[in-house]
């Protein structure tokens, strides 16, 4: 598990070297998520329609090491946009990756942008 999780590191907007074209905006459910494959990474992408924002983070649940976060429910916790892991409802900030209802390690988050109806995720390599 630690080998897998070590592949996921938060990328800050100024560290982006590659903008990966993931899919069309229509491929993602409104106010829900789906998973994107990039090299050997699995990235959860959320179309937060109510905020008109998009978020990307690792698909790996840091609690148990399973690829499930994109299937989680999104919403907010005291105003912070979050995703709830479908396995045990651990919630993570979509902005900082921080665990909001416990002290599990944070998840990695990635920059995301929409251009011409396409979703792009930012990677540093």
């Amino acid at each position: 598990m630690s080998v897998v999780s070590s592949k996921y590191k938060t990328v800050k907007p100024d560290e982006v070297k590659v903008w990966f074209k993931a899919a069309s905006v229509n491929d993602f459910p409104k106010d829900g998520g789906a998973c994107v494959k990039y090299k050997d990474l699995q990235i959860a992408v959320f179309n937060f329609k109510r905020l008109n924002k998009w978020f990307a983070c690792q698909n790996l649940s840091p609690e148990k090491g399973e690829m499930v976060l994109s299937r989680g429910m999104i919403g907010d916790h005291k105003g912070i946009p979050m995703v709830a892991c479908p396995l045990h409802k651990k919630t993570f900030s979509l902005e900082t990756g921080e665990n909001l209802n416990g002290d599990i390690e944070p998840i990695a988050t990635y920059p995301i942008k929409i251009e011409k109806e396409n979703v792009y995720i930012g990677f540093s390599e």
Partner: protein, 838 residues
Amino acid sequence: MQTVIVVGNGMVGYKFCEKFVEASKNKEYKIIVFGEEPRPAYDRVHLSEFFENQDAKALEMAPAEWYKENGIDLVVDERVSDIQRGTKTIVTAKNKVFNYDYLVLATGSSAFVPPIKGVEKEGVFVYRTIEDLEGMLAYAAKLKETNPNAKAAVLGGGLLGLEAGKAVMDMGLEPHIVEFAPKLMPRQLDSRSSQVLQLKLESMGLNIHLSKATNQILGEEYITGMEFGEDDVLDVEMLVVSAGIRPRDELGKTSGLEMGVRGGIVVNNKMQTSDENIYAIGEVALYNQMIYGLVAPGYDMADVAVNQIIGNTEKLMPADIDMSTKLKLIGVDVASFGEPFMPASKGHSIIFENKTQYLYKRINVSHDGKKLLGGILVGDASDYNMLHQVYLNGMAIPEDPAQLILPASEGGSSFGDVMDLPDEAQVCSCENVTKGQICGAIESGEAKDLADVVSCTKAGTGCGGCKPMVKDITTATLKSLGIEVKDSICEHFDYNRQDLYKIIEVKGYTTFNEVLDSHGNGGHGCELCKPLVASLMATIHADTANKEYAIQDSNDRFLANIQRNGTYSVVPRVPGGEITPDKLIALGQIAKKYDLYTKVTGGVRIDLFGATLNQLPLIWKELIAHGFESGHAYGKSLRTVKTCVGSTWCRYGMAESVSFGIELENRYRGIRAPHKIKGGVSGCIRECAEARGKDFGLIAVEGGWNLYLGGNGGATPRHAELFAEQIDNETVIKYLDRYLMFYMRTAKPLQRTAAWQERLEGGLDYLKEVIIEDKLGIVEDLEKEMETLVNKFECEWTQAVNDPEVMKRFNHFVNSDEEDDNIVFVPMRDQKMPRQWS
């Protein structure tokens, strides 16, 4: 920088580190910890759990990384062999030398093995470490190969001995407990409570031998039996010695520290030994001429030593140590507090005993009847927390103290209010949190609800036993501040489920966003309110989970149950448990084709595990082609109606339970409710369908059906209550329609019928008035609403596989047809299972 060396990495040694890190923040200390065992400290109190999962990691107090993160050098598998007090150094068995400024001895104890002839034979174990257990497991497995009915004995009927008895039982050996004293747990229990415990344990399959002094262990190379007297022999093939503990005090002896006559390193109330730079804590320390074999005093000692070393010298060990304990032994509650055995000269005892239910409660009160001095609880220790508080704080007790232990009468608890506790009352003993701290956190505004209280005081984060009390104190404090404690569903709505039900029904909302925008608090919803609204939409508009899938709970979103490794299980409906050979074959062929693990569920249908997201629609297409439909095993909805074979085949059957069970299952399939619903139909009073353990249950009797309502298994099992007798099929359906609809309208989220019914004001009588006599004038509506749901039923999976838009949901990746490569299965008994969680 000063160096603190801790010798011993057991529970108390670990606690010392934890408290030291917390207390010495920003101060310059170097901590080095030596452990003799090959792994970091683990929870020895729950050692017998190792047999259930054999997962040593699960027992860890903290992972090895924790020590590193906190700047602690942890050296495992290395025993400290000598202390040179003159040069303030220690030497390890590997001849390494380390300097210390402070030395903390937390070497604990070892199992005491009495000098019985033959005790060195193979097959004799002690019960202390994970390695001991692994040795026992390997030996037991070998025994069972030649003799599946092998017997094992445990020498010692104390606390640890009974734990070891459970371990032996879990290994599949016939367990025997051999105790020298005339009763079990002689240190904690009086004779009568000990007898009650004995009866209970015997009823669970433990063989108990009391007043037995073991002369010798029989056998050549390995144990074959135990001899007590000339003709008194017990044949056993394995023996676990659990006859007490001896402090691991060798280092104290060799370095010339002051020792107790019968062992143990003498400490003062600062936990200092006769050398002021050396501390001793836990089971190696002799304090007040006593070795304390409980973990709580050990933790207190660790706390005192930490404070002394960092300079808070006013923190001392109290002279009186509370030896109260509450534990679950082999699933049986046992607790004692204060003075459990009190001589008649000091007060009176009040005893409640009910051997038919294996219950025993004793309290000791002062002669004037005003003070609680101690007590013993066996079988049910749910009152322990409160009794313990009353004792600790010398609180007033009822005029008739018997009320403290008599079974609760109407009107509930005889204890006063939690708010009567004094501020210094210790509510959480694991984290040492007082009532005053909890109230203070709320009064200062730091904590606004229960979750805040837990996170800022840490109350309830240890064993969790105090949680109900923490909750009560929190609620009462909030109330006293004039803050209304709402049962609103989450931060996004100020309404409870019943309010929202009415709002959606009256306003006719059909989407989550409509409800949130018009009646929410301005947020965006969460994992609590979204599935709740989804469930209400399903009840009010007969929507399936496909309609607004992003607000569905994960299982409803993918119409399958997510499993441990992110794969899913598939459960087609098998109404009443009746299935044709052709359908059985189809299930087998499909399971084989997709390499699925198959198992019969607790609800008498067949569960296919290990389907990936991508496989789900493929599997369901085939199932539907063979005439199956969704079993809604993933929903808060009707699961199964379990049936016995009834008069169709059974020579005792009074009615066709299968036919009626199928009719009921097909009637209520697919409806969404606050929680899952299960039914059962039995063809006679032998009750083979276990119908009274279900939300609704029917038992055929002369002249019709007896209808039982509000039962469940689960964490709090409850038998359903008899609601109506000798009624016909039509009346059953009429009452069930009304009952279920009334439940769906008024229950809290995730509240099963049992809990709902129990909290219904007026109880069963009120329920009868509403459902049979129509006291509220709503039965016509209830029936109509249910009729609509029944008529609008549609199989969600049939909808899904016929809609390409819906099918897109089941791709693991949006940009690739590949499957999740993170899923790993391992073989198990000719099938497969997910690899263990690391």
